[in-house]
Structures are given as C-alpha cells and as structure tokens.
C-alpha cells in the first residue's frame, strides 16, 4: 500500500519535531528515513503508525485517510529499536500475538508461526523466551511478529541500532532480501547513511523537522540538493571554496592547467583506501581520498609538493 503524508506538523512543547512535512511512499517500495538524531525521522514514522498524533496534516495509507485511526486499526507492522519483545511469552507466542488477537483458528496460527519462524531463520527457537535469544535473534523475532498479521505497511524504527556491527551488516542484507520476497511497502528509520544507501530504494533526508531531499541513493550522492545532504550522505572535502567529494580530486606530481599547489601533511592508510591530508598555499587544508595503488604509483610521501586537479564533473554544491 502507498503511504502519503500531507503537511504534517508535530511539536513537543517548544521543540518542533516535524515542520509541515509532505511525503509519498510508493506501493511496494523500500524507503529509508535518514537524518541526525532529533531530525524528526522517528516522529514521522510514529505518526504514520498512529503512535503519535500529528498537530496538523493528514496521513493516507492505501489512499485512505488514516489520521484519526488508532494504531490497532491501521494494519501496520512496527519494529522497535529495542525489540519490544513480550518477555513473558515464548517466541512462538510473540509471533502469534497479532493472530491470537484476531481470533484465528489454532492450527492456522501454528502453521503461520512456523512459516514465519522459518522465514526469519528462527525455526527451532519457538519454545524459547526472548531473554534466551541474542539481540539479532530478538529483532528477527520482532520482525516475524510484525509480519504475522500481513500488514499493509512495515515500519522499522532504527531496527539495527542496538546491534553490533557484524550483526547489523548481516541483517541489512537480509532485510533487503526479505523485502524482495515479501514485497510489503517498507519504511525504516536510520541515522547511518551507509545503511540507508545499502538497503533502500528511496532515501528521505530529514533535518530539524524538514525534508532536505528525497531521492535514490545515487541521486543523493551525486546530486545533493544542499550542503547538509552532501555532507550527510558521504565524505566531503573543500577545494577552492567548493564542497566536493574527496575522491573527485586527482593528485598530480607535475603542475598542469587548472591545478592548485599543495603540500602533503599526512598519508593515512585505511586498507584499500588511502587518505591524503594536504595544506594549500593560502593556509587552508583539504584531504583527498585515493587508493593504495595510486599512492604507490606516484610514490607519494609526506612533505612532498603536489598539484590537485578536480575531475571533469565533480559532485559539488
């Protein structure tokens, strides 16, 4: 189901969480709400779920005005950062919760629960309690619980935020595959640009309660609407008063047309990637992202004088 947010505003006391926000989420898409904390992304997700009431504006789910509906009548699946597992119930009972509320027949519930536990790779854990699961397993259980009632939209609030780096990466790839299988309209909140880029088809950048830009990961990276988006979705560096991507700069060992002279201060090896920090003539400093092979080819060394050239069509604002 599509989600339409129309001019939604929400304040908490003096704090403006959402300032006249409008957004379209296509049916079956996978969208990330990306931004710094306090930017309004979780509030927007909670407004869509009905867990917060907007001060003004409307929310339409599947073309139908849902603004006045309580969360239990919106047919949304919601996954919380800290899992919100029902601690006194087994994994199977957790997953079955929504179906039990809907008074489905016992054998149908059992079948569906088994199906979902297989989908989230938790078969064999049905009779455990949430306290006996790892963080990643709990979050997969929470996801199965949300999917059990076949929601029209799936909303995830920083779903991997409480997990360690390795598990996060695994679950990201897994969420992506799951979406390809289940095809439910999915919106997730994250403050991690890499996560948004890797998982989402569409990214909505929120800051100070406003939408800064909506676009595909590539759009955002290559055509950022403003300095904030440019800085938030990737590394930035400054050259001749322009904000540029540090890999859009070429290092030359001889002067050429349109180059600026600079001295290498430091070379930082980060594996394949190498970060070269430089001082420009006028006391400004910048950095360039390059590769190990390039550094070896040019035989770069700290203290060396080099010339910097912007590539043909750099991303800049």
């Amino acid at each position: 189901m599509s989600i339409v947010v129309e001019s939604v505003s929400k304040r908490f006391g003096d704090f403006v969480a959402l300032n006249d926000v409008s957004l379209n989420v296509r049916d079956g898409s996978l969208t990330a709400l990306l931004g710094p904390s306090g930017g309004g992304k979780s509030t927007l997700l909670r407004v869509i779920a009905g867990l917060e009431q907007p001060d003004s504006g409307r929310v339409l789910i599947g073309g139908e005005d849902a603004t006045a509906k309580p969360p239990q009548r919106r047919d949304v699946g919601f996954v919380f950062q800290h899992y919100a597992a029902f601690k006194h119930m087994t994994v199977a009972k957790n997953v079955a919760f929504g179906l039990a509320i809907r008074k489905r027949p016992k054998d149908e519930i059992e079948e569906r629960v088994n199906e979902l536990l297989a989908l989230v790779h938790l078969d064999g854990f049905a009779h455990r309690y949430p306290s006996q699961l790892s963080g990643g397993q709990r979050q997969r259980m929470a996801l199965a619980r949300a999917l059990a009632v076949q929601p029209r939209v799936l909303l995830l609030d920083e779903p991997f935020g409480a997990l360690d780096a390795t598990v996060r990466k695994e679950l990201r790839a897994w969420l992506r595959r799951l979406h390809d299988e289940v095809h439910v309209t999915t919106v997730f909140v994250t403050h991690d640009q890499e996560e948004a880029m890797e998982v989402a088809e569409q990214i909505v950048v929120l800051n100070h309660g406003d939408i800064e830009q909506v676009g595909s990961p590539r759009d955002l990276y290559e055509k950022p609407a403003n300095e904030f988006v440019m800085r938030f979705v990737g590394p930035v560096s400054e050259l001749s008063g322009r904000w540029i991507r540090p890999h859009d700069v070429e290092i030359l060992t001889e002067p050429a047309g349109g180059t600026s002279e600079a001295q290498i201060d430091r070379i930082v090896h980060l594996g394949f990637e190498v970060r070269v920090e430089l001082s420009l003539g006028d006391g400004e400093s910048t950095w360039v992202q390059t590769t190990r092979a390039k550094v070896e080819e040019l035989e770069l060394a700290e203290g060396q004088i080099v010339w910097l050239r912007l590539e043909a069509e750099p991303v800049s604002v």
């Binding site: 969360p71 919380f80 029902f86 509320i101």
Partner: protein, 265 residues
Amino acid sequence: MKSKYALRFVALGYLALLLGIPVALVFINAFQDGIGTAWNAVTTPEAQHAFWLTFIMVAVAVPLNTVFGVLCALAVVRQRFRGRALLNAMVDLPFAVSPVVVGLALLLVYGRRDGWIGPWLSEHGVQIIFSTPGMILATIFVSLPFVVREVIPVLREIGTEQEQAAATLGANGLQTFFRVTLPAIRWGVAYGVVLTIARALGEFGAVSVVSGKLSGRTETATLYVESRFQRFDETGAYAASVVLALLAFATLLAMNLIKPKEAQG
C-alpha cells in the same frame, strides 16, 4: 574478611533480638499449658468469630485495593494530567497518618449521632460505625498504598514499548492490559497483594476505634488478642497471636513458592 562476618553478625543479631526472640516467646507462651489448651483457646465461639471477621476484612479489602492499586498506578505512570502529583502523594497518606487518626476521621464522617453523613445513613438503616462496614473501610484505608507502591516502579521499568507493539498488532486497550501489561507487572502486583494481606490481617488501631469492640460481634482477631490479654487470659491471647503469625508466615511463604526463580532477588 572480618568485616564481612561483623556485617552478618549485626544484621542477624538485630533481627534475632527485635524479631526472632519476641516471636519465639509468643509461641512458647501459647503452648506452655499444652497444645490442647491452646487449641481450645482459639476454637471458642468468640475466637472463631474474631477470625471469621478478620477473614472478611481481608477478603473485601485486598481485592478492592488490588484493583484500585493497579488502576491508580496506571494513572500515575501512564497518563499526564493535572493533579497527578497530588494523587501520587495522597496514596502515601495511610503510611504517614497514624491508624488511630484514620479511625477518628471515619468517626467524624460516619458517626451515627454527629458524623458528617452518619445520621443520614442511620435514618436509612445503614450503620457504618460499630459495625462491619466501618471496620472494612478502616482496613481498606490503612492497606491502600501497598499495591500502588509495588506496581508503580515495575510499570516505569517495563516502559511503554511492549504496549505500543501490542497496539500496532491490533490489540485494543483491554486486550493490551490483560495480555501484555498485567503479565509484565504480575510479580509487583503479587508482592503488593501479600503486603496488603499482611497489613489487613494485623490492623489494630483504626479498626479498634470504629469497632466499639463488641465481643463476638465487632471483634477482629487482633482486637480479640487485646481483649483476652486485658482479661488476664494469657493463653488465649498468645494462642490467637500464634494463629495470626502463622497466617502471615503462610502468606509470605505462598508468595515465595509461586514466584519464579528469575524474579527472586
């Protein structure tokens, strides 16, 4: 190492002197003329009636205070309204006010001659003071805070996410309460209930003021112990005390038995 033992010695010694030895002496005194005598002392019609009355106090006050206590805790923790802090503070009033004052306050409201609404009730054939309803009111009053105080911190600790998750899964308010909130706070409620029972069993001051102490009519077990003692029937007083103490032990024991391992601490 020595300080470790010193700490245990102080803690155990304190308990033994102030609690263990006096309670043990009650048991010894109750049975000094033999178990038969003690048994006879607690099975007289007056004694039986006193225990029956105490049972009624517990049977009415505990369920009422449990339901009210959970609702009150929910209001204090889950809602924002004017007077919330006042409600929270009012709940502790029975802790702060002496039970005797509670008894006198009830007299002022329900007294048959010059109470606030007592004369009107009396005209309509309802007697509160010097009768069971007044004693029940006094018991409810003094045992009111326990469930609220036990449930509030548990409700705060569990947070609202599980309830919100239940809502997004289609549960309405009542379903969320009975399937998610109540199971999550059940040990807090159970502990509150145990304390409420213990308090209701042992209440003396407030009930004493409103009961009129009519033997065989408005005498609860604690009042019975006092009246036996004042009539120099020491065996009767101690034997009834033993029954009260055993009931309290049984209540505490019951809770420890039903409590799961992980909830003990």
